[in-house]
Amino acid sequence: MPRPDWLPARRTKENHVSDEALWSKCPKCGEVLYRRDLAANLFVCTRCGYHFRMRAYDRIASIADGEFTELGADVLPGDPLDWSDRKSYPAKLKTDRERSGLSESVVCGFASVGGHRVGLGVMDFHFRGGTMGQVTGERITLLFEAARRERIPCVIFAASGGARMEEGMLALMQLAKTTAAVSRFMADGNFYLVVLTDPTSGGVSASFAFQADVIVAESKAMIGFAGRRVIEQTIRQRLPDQFQTAEFLLEKGAIDMVVERSDLKDTLVRLLEYADHE
């Protein structure tokens, strides 16, 4: 999918650095895919249907109608714990920034989706594993506060390994902060829709992700509270492959629907129509 003109140019440029590779190999079926074909197919393997993890701006381009006004881009991470192990935390952030072309694990802003103006937040697993630090929580909070003032729905694409270790308890407190913002937003009668993408777990799934009115998940996405490895170590046995997939959660009654990426935008537009009071 070619990046549209309306997304900020510097992002496109930054993205080029990491996305320059012409070919991508499907981790599931091994098919070697021409990058441009893959992008045109919404980063879904043309052979087996495997959903690649999408980058935030690619996702926005695939969902928004043609405008995106970013919110909170000037809110940038610090180093509250003075964390340094093999590498200092600011150095890790710098590396991730260069690799992902993002300044944090979430991009928030306003967009039009099928003609519906929404607050849109997209998490990106390529930045610190989508972990939630203070800035992640702050941007999500700013988004819900702004959407509440405007009385427009919020759509969040979740992808996260949980709270970010290097920001310690201040990262954990983002569960409380985002919960507060989401709760106020919802209490006022606003509609909140979440799309769980691969993977969503830990502090993000246990806070704003599962607080949504309607929970959609991308096909085959791994979604859970605890990581698969942690559970396997705890119970000392291998888990079935299906465990914690979107399909598994649907069967258990934890989510509303599982959707293929190719149907995602149409699904969101249909759902947003039910909450449109105009």
Binding site: D74, V75, L76, P77, G78, P80, L81, W83, D85, Q134, V135, G137, E138, L142, E145, G161, A163, R164, M165, E166, E167, G168, M169, L170, A171, L172, M173, Q174, L175, A176, K177, T179, A180, A181, V182, S183, R184, S201, G202, G203, S205, A206, S207, F208, A209, F210, Q211, I223, G224, F225, A226, V230, I231, T234, I235, L239, F243, K252, G253, A254
Partner: protein, 328 residues
């Protein structure tokens, strides 16, 4: 051998205590004057006590918080004037790793909730080592909402390694249970006072710790993840837990500095279990005082104050070095 380093250290004290007692006995039974030896031993005892527990590293505090004799939630709740336990999530089962119910604390009716670990293997198995399942958080949600309806302040005691990471917990949507519990506490229209009495592990602890006033015992810990979990996540090596503990800023002092904890309660030298009775009395006094301070606030004021409190948490820095606050 205990895998708790504090318990291990206490062994050397037990040996000294025994020798002092023996010497005393021998001294009383014989004409020999052994008072100087006894005095020397006692001096050594005090010295060791200070060496062992005078200053505790974050890792040592983690073990202190997990000490098998440390007062648990029920040790506090049992000292309420009254307690009537309420059970179950109304859907699937009762989770004994969260206890909750009506209580009366110093003549004030409250709703009380706490994570409950066991003291021995049998009780630990029953209570899943204090790691709540979704059913526990759904019970907490139910009781928090009931508290709002009946205008009962909520008192919680936090003591958990974290929420249960198991097959059944995943099948029953642990994430959703915690997420909704966080919402219930966020939206409660009554005062909430939380006390971190042992280990505060991650979201599973936070689910009972969103509060208008947070108290923490001196040697309790409260962390984004257990040091073992953090080391496993960052370095794929749980044995580096001690190093992780040093980084995580999980002590009461650290958290008060961050504005996450409002009041720290001192513990006796060697930890709360060395004088559990006084620690419980002092803690309940602090909870009562906090409730008294919050009693005059209207629901609107409480909600507004609570929102602003959590809204502030988590400062960040701009590209340069100057701390920046959000423009609202």
């Amino acid at each position: 051998m205990s895998n708790n380093i504090i318990v291990e250290r206490e062994r050397s004290l037990v040996e000294l205590e025994r020798r002092i007692a023996e010497l005393r006995e021998a001294s009383a039974a014989q004409p020999l004057d052994m008072s100087s030896e006894i005095a020397a031993l006692e001096q050594k005892y005090q010295q060791i006590l200070h060496e062992l527990f005078g200053t505790l590293s974050p890792w040592e505090k983690v073990h202190m918080a997990r000490h098998p004799n440390r007062p648990t939630s029920l040790d506090y709740i049992s000292r309420f004037d009254r307690f009537d336990e309420l059970h179950g999530d109304r859907h699937f089962r009762d989770d004994p790793s969260i206890v909750g119910g009506f209580g009366t604390l110093r003549s004030r009716n409250v709703m009380v909730l706490g994570q409950q670990r066991g003291r021995d293997t049998k009780e630990n198995l029953r209570r899943n080592f204090g790691m709540p399942a979704p059913e526990g958080y759904r019970k907490a949600t139910r009781l928090a909402r009931l508290a709002s309806r009946l205008r009962l302040p909520i008192v919680t005691f936090v003591d958990t390694k974290g929420a249960d990471p198991g097959i059944s917990s995943e099948e029953h949507a642990q994430s959703e249970a915690i997420a909704i519990c966080l919402q219930a506490f966020t939206m409660a229209t009554v005062p909430i006072v939380a006390t971190i009495v042992g280990e505060g592990g991650s979201g599973g602890a936070l689910a009972l710790a969103i509060a208008d006033f947070v108290i923490m015992l001196e040697h309790s810990t409260y962390s984004v993840a257990s040091p073992e979990g953090c080391a496993a996540i960052l370095w794929s090596d749980a044995s580096k837990a001690e190093e992780a503990a040093a980084h995580l800023k999980l002590t009461a002092d650290d958290l008060q500095r961050f504005g996450i904890v409002d009041q720290i309660l001192p513990e006796p030298l060697g930890g709360a279990h060395r004088n559990a009775r006084d620690v419980v009395t002092q803690t309940l006094g602090a909870v009562d005082a906090a409730l008294a301070r919050l009693a005059s606030l209207t629901p609107e004021m409480l909600l507004d104050q609570r929102y602003r409190k959590y809204r502030r948490l988590g400062e960040w820095q701009a590209e340069g070095l100057e701390p920046v606050r959000t423009a609202r």
